[in-house]
């Protein structure tokens, strides 16, 4: 068993190192492309940089500094990925619903594109949530999967939003696609609530929500650092995905080429 030094005792934290490396990469790329060295192509990269550094340090803290979990031992450390991804899945899908309602009320294209981006990022987060949840469940519950309210409703939520994406992919007309995706996203969000309530009437082995009162002090801080890392990275991913969607939308509605002049 290798024992690593605590984060506070390191002269430079791995997160700071990662951040510096990333900044160095950006500077080198700027120089090689003949731009000013401090040029940042778009604002969301700042979120990406901070998120990445926080994530590296947060995971180091979770793996090295955090105390052994009293019941689950070293396995409990997976919590520092599992819990933040659960929080962020909820936050991102909540924003999907908010953007969908905003699109139906205002009809602005930006909200439609944000619905698309948040749905995709939310699905990625929920896949991460399910995967870490399964790895967590095997050593603690003895099985990878149990028909548990929390698990079932999370899976149903993920499937609903995947359905929304399939619907989006199957529609060609831009206006129709925008409206119908928003309707689908609202449906997916509301159904989640009812599903959660319905499966609660089954027995559950998943613990209730944790709060700072029920978690040991040193763990709370590490969970918060990781949660902010996930938040910043999600903002970064959503903004990047939004730019792609925006470019695609502008390409789709580009004016037709002028008719060829025949002599």
């Amino acid at each position: 068993m290798i024992s690593l030094p605590h984060l506070a005792s390191l002269p430079v934290t791995p997160g700071q190192l990662t951040g510096l490396l990333a900044i160095l990469t950006i500077v080198l790329m700027n120089i090689s492309r003949g731009r000013v060295w401090y040029h940042l192509p778009s604002w969301e990269h700042a979120f990406g940089l901070v998120g990445l550094s926080l994530l590296v340090d947060g995971q180091y803290l979770g793996l090295v500094d955090a105390p052994r979990e009293a019941m689950m031992g070293e396995t409990g450390r997976i919590m520092y990925v599992h819990v933040p991804s659960a929080w962020l899945t909820m936050v991102v899908f909540l924003f999907t619903c908010i953007f969908a309602v905003a699109f139906l009320l205002t009809g602005k294209r930006v909200f439609d594109l944000l619905v698309e981006s948040t749905t995709e990022v939310g699905i990625v987060l929920s896949i991460l949530l399910q995967a870490t949840g399964m790895l967590f469940a095997k050593p603690t519950w003895g099985v990878y999967w149990d028909w548990d309210p929390r698990l079932v409703s999370t899976t149903v939520m993920m499937l609903s939003f995947m359905g929304v994406l399939s619907l989006r992919a199957a529609l060609d007309d831009a206006d129709r696609r925008a409206t119908w995706t928003s309707v689908g996203a609202i449906l997916a969000t509301t159904s989640m609530g009812v599903t959660y309530m319905s499966v609660r009437w089954w027995r559950s082995i998943h613990q209730m929500q944790s709060s700072p009162d029920t978690v040991a002090k040193p763990m709370v801080l590490i969970l918060r650092i990781n949660a902010f890392a996930f938040l910043f990275l999600s903002v970064w991913l959503i903004a990047r995905r939004w730019r792609i969607a925006d470019a695609q939308a502008r390409m789709d509605e580009a004016p037709p080429l002028p008719p060829e002049v025949t002599v």
Partner: protein, 226 residues
Amino acid sequence: MSWILRVPAVVSKELLIEWRERSRVSSLLFYSFALLLMVAFAMPDVRMLGDIAGGALWLGLLLASTRSLDQSFRVELENDSLEGMVLWPVDPLAIFYGKALANAFVLILVASVITPLLGVLYHPSWHGQPWALAAVIVLGCAGIAGPGTLVASLTAQARGSSALLPVLLFPLVVPVVMASARTTILLFQGDPMGQVDNWLVLLLIFNVVHWSLDGLLFARVVEEAG
């Protein structure tokens, strides 16, 4: 609120279409019947059939519903009749509730034919009250038909709609299928813990949420449907 007066007209139009194409309802019945047989063949032991009867019933109804819901908007696409109805003008709410009621009616019809068949084929024991079974069938079919009508309106004009409908619909109706199947199983096997009422309340809540929300969302869908 004058749109409510139009709902019966839309319902009768839908049912008239169903009546004129009776082969559709009868093929739906044969489909569910064949499904019940197939479930029986897939079981390792026929003595287990009594225990799973409730689940098989709702699985059959759910799969049958995807076929009928898909048709319900397909017929409108010929001659642009949906756009015609909107321009008449029929309020979108009347169109939605008319169609959803008609879809629920067709499903209840199928359920009331295959439930007795289920009793003959699967030999479930019986410990419940007939009114409770009737309530489950009505609420369960309405719970599938309400969101199902909205989802069908979304998928009918998309590419590969018959595959897309279940993808969107099944996650939405998880609570309905769960509650209906649980209740039916409890009615067959006995309900010592008195859970039936809770499940019925859940079905009722689901129906209230979806039948009120989906109509409003449908109004936005048809604006783009033309």
